[in-house]
Symmetry: D2
């Protein structure tokens, strides 16, 4: 089971909502809606994605990473992998 299993329903709900929003944005563009209205909707996709990422990252650190370090099982691999993910989201 992945570390986010207890937040799975919350995550799926957010992802489904974002799919709807993205479809709505595509329709706005198809119907030639005003640039700034499209930009504002696009921003909510970024914010929504960051929120989902924050939930999964929290669960991953409290789950997989903590477990690997506690049992000292491939712990360096988990630490290096976490550092890479955090760096990607930080440098953005």
């Amino acid at each position: 089971m992945p570390s986010y299993v207890s937040d799975k329903e919350k995550i799926l709900l957010r992802l489904r909502k974002m799919e709807g929003q993205l479809k709505g944005i595509r329709r706005m563009v198809e119907e030639d809606k005003y640039c700034v209205d499209v930009l504002n909707q696009l921003y909510s996709i970024i914010a929504g994605t960051q929120k989902v990422a924050a939930i999964i990252m929290k669960d991953h650190i409290k789950g997989c990473v903590k477990d690997a370090l506690t049992r000292n099982d491939h712990s360096d691999d988990y630490v290096n992998e976490l550092v890479e993910v955090v760096e990607r989201y930080t440098k953005r």
Copy 2:
């Protein structure tokens, strides 16, 4: 016509691709895929959204904003609105 009309097909292509990616991410979560794999896919949604936003912002400045200022037609409204959008994306 909105300022992005000449990039419309390019934008729609990117949005459709992102809808597919988002659906793929939902499936990954449903199938309990590994946290970091989900996080890496989520990051590509952020990058993709920023790319679409950059295209529309460029078109908007070169189109709507430039037109409004050239004709001095509600130009302050356009300038204030642009400042707001840019601030939102900058402060993030």
Copy 3:
């Protein structure tokens, strides 16, 4: 005069404050302070820089860019340059 002339004192005040914060962060590192305390202070540098950038961008759009477009004087150069700056801050 640059577009930010009316906000110049506010900007200088913020920049001087940030110089003090940055010097404080260097001292924290020299004195081996705790990682997370350093990270929290570093974050305030990012937030502070974004705030100053937002002020100058607002002034630039309402000043230089608006003037160039209104007088149609090298307006394409200003628009292209603005697009580049906004893209850099947006894609980050």
Copy 4:
């Protein structure tokens, strides 16, 4: 000793360089330099800060967090604290 002790000289070098850059930016504003030139310099402060933060975060995870989890010493506190820092840098 903090986790970043082995990177201390590298970090201090970067922080001193950023202090010089920030002083340079203040001088640019005092001398009424062009908005976009100031904005480009400000961007390098954000990029520089993110780079220093990435170094310290990596060291912190590989040091403090790993140690706390391995020895199971206040490990939940370290995990919660790390989650908070990562969230702040991610959501930005």
